[in-house]
Amino acid sequence: MRLTVDGQSFDIDADPDMPLLWALRDLIGKTGPKFGCGIAACGACTVHVDGQPVRSCSLPVGQVSGAVTTIEGIGTAGELHPVQQAWLEEQVAQCGYCQAGQIMSAVALLDEVADPSDADIDNAMGGNLCRCGTYPKIRSAIKKAAALKTAGL
């Protein structure tokens, strides 16, 4: 089957029941999305399909019809997405393992709501677990990213 990931096209030979996450990680080599739970309970595997955040560990690859975007597709070290820039400035990450998923959820939130309230952040980010407890910085980074985006940076 054919999969579009981060603007690139891939032909893969996968069991259609295989979760998108494992197709990305093992077959295509995109290791940005992380395996955390396998039951859509932690958000570490969050990617976008046609701009919508999905838990790739629980979405069969055979059901993916849109373009997939991973953390590797939203920005690079030389050209960071405003959310990544805010994460860097706020020094959010500790172990960093959940952060690709956190960032993808935050990007989707800001695409939907330009200036999110605390309640918006709680709703959008509640499915993303962080065992290092970086939540206070995640919250401040989302607010900073909203400001960066509004300023067109």
């Binding site: 994460w87 500790q94 960093g96 393992y97 960032i103 980010m125 970086t134």
Partner: protein, 757 residues
Amino acid sequence: MASIGKIARRTFLIGAAAIAGGVAVGYYYYRKPFANPLEADLGKGEATFNPYVKIGADNTITIVAPRAEMGQGVSTTLAAMVAEELDVGLDQVKVEHGPASYAYYNSGIMEEGGPFAFFDESMTAETVRAGMGVIGKLLALQGTGGSSSMRDGFGKMRQAGAAARQMLIAAAAQKLGVQASELETANGSILHKASGKSITYGEVASAAAAMAPPSEVRLKDKADWKLLGKPQKRIDMMAKVTGAPIFGIDVRLPDMLYGTVKMSPRFWSKPVSADLSKAEKMPGVVKIVPIETNYGYGFGIIAQNTWAAFKAAEAIEAKWADPDYPLDSAAIDGVLKQALGEKASATRDDGNVDTAFADAPRERIIEADYAVPYLAHTTMEPMNATAQLKDGVLDIWCGNQAPTILRQLCANQLGIEQDKITVHTTFLGGGFGRRIEMDYALYAAQMAKETGGRPIKVTWTREEDTRHDAYRPAAVGKFQARLGDDGLPVALDMKLASASIMAGVLRRLFPSISPIGPDKTIVDGAFDQPYTIPNYRVSGIAAPVSIPAGFWRSVGASINGFFHEGFMDEIAVAGKIDPVELRKTLMADHPAAVKVVEKVAEMAKWGEALPAGKAKGMAFTLAFGSWVGEIVQVADTPAGIRIEKMWIAADVGTALDPGIIEAQLISAAIYGLSAAMGQEITFADGMVEQSNFHDYDAMRIFQCPVFEVAILENFHRMGGVGEIGTPPAAPALANAIFALTGKRIRTLPLSKTVAFA
């Protein structure tokens, strides 16, 4: 005064074993420096000065920070120690973990291993502390734990940077034909001001590295620090916001196979029957192999991709032997309570507790029973390792907290020499003590024997990870206090029982050492608190339960912080004394403790009245050499109790990076709150009942309080950072809930009694 011999006889598992094995080796061996492991693997034009510094001819400066980076920021601050003395910016250096090597021994991890409180500076305590440091070097344990990396690295990392700088200056002086004293350094260059001549470190690196290291190294005064003492940008942040492949689970190698494991759901049990036929026939499955290690029995599934391996693991049908521990949580609790009734030797025994209670009027005595459950670590990155065994040589990639132990155990497992093993330590997607265990590495090494030389990445499911941990053990405590007429305690008796962590660690990691002596982790956080009470006894008993018990962020203090500080709050209430005032009074002998309590009370506006439906609770612990006070504010809401705010004051002696320290304090507090609110590992039929985040969750962003943190530097010795925020979190929350609801909850998790929003 107790002699060292006496201390050694009654001293504590690892320490006693190390003394027994170590003293015979003698002082000479202790003085002998370890070889520099970087010499074996230098790039073209690269020179090394010591195990921590490499400089290339192109002025690429590499610092080795040989401790596990599991989020605590250790690589940044260790690199900053070297960079500070080397006179380079952190943005100018490359930081690597480096190889497994005895040169990277951690002596700090052992230093507080003796039966002394951190504030005990008697000659005996100091002598044992120095001795423990020697043992740390003799054992040559390259480990990350015990909140020890800064204390261990503070001397040697700065000296490594300073020595390299002095050698570079000497080489530059020779090259330029000037006096060394006329040269200055900045940003990786050496400047001769008088002539305006300047050369880079790289230009003189190979000449400098060939010189003898200076016999005397002068370190900067604290006042001259440019990096240390100030918040630095973490060296790992860019990789972590761009999704770079930095974790063990991200390793990709040519021709790599994938796998997983299905280990016995009953610890240490062998399979009595197994039907692999269905699993073996599943698409993508290459082979299923038996696994037998220090961690017990099971099967390894080798496959073309991780998903195929997971599916096949589910399809294995096996029956497992009965375990040698009680089958369910009720039976385990029975064993713990029975242990409490046994005679125990006291680790702290001030005054005469028996006499103090003998004539106490009933109304002046308070009593309480406390209990905490087993806990899993649940790092975000499930356990995994990648291994390749080719031509008798093993390469292994994984996050781990002890590379030299990993190498030793893999050598034992495969029957090969340690010098045939290369350990590639990656970043860890969380550690919290879980990755000082080696099961994930041993399984991958074992499976690599079966792949015909191809590398294999072995990833556990979350279910396997949750059900095969080295758990924070369940514990129980029985406490009694006698109050005086002024409400202050005149006697306190604490009896504690749990499975021995150290006995379990020895069985898994040091199988050749037999457990001897009591286990200090059972009483840590209770016997060593800076309270002065005339009659004060703390005793611990190891309960015979062989479920794997391990190091869980803050270890014994995670248990006893809750017990001690919960009961202290009960004493305050019974004695009608404000909890903050009670602590200030009882800790008056320790000004650092009093200042912490005063600071956190001031930040939280402790004395001010709160609106109805809100309340505060406080707790204080001294653990890993740092003094920490925490206050939690809770609110009663229609959806349940909401944790609104948390204030933390911590005295760490010397704060090397206030930004990272603040992040660690908040992190550790959330880790403790998560467990206190809802976490519990329970057993039925010899197996763990929980399996994934739906039944073993942690705090979410919508439950997270607002934090305010103060970092103090009053005490004259440096303390640890990574674990110190955890022990006071649970009791501060439970005490706040008592203040809010009048319910005194003595058993965790709190969610068994109250609901959280």
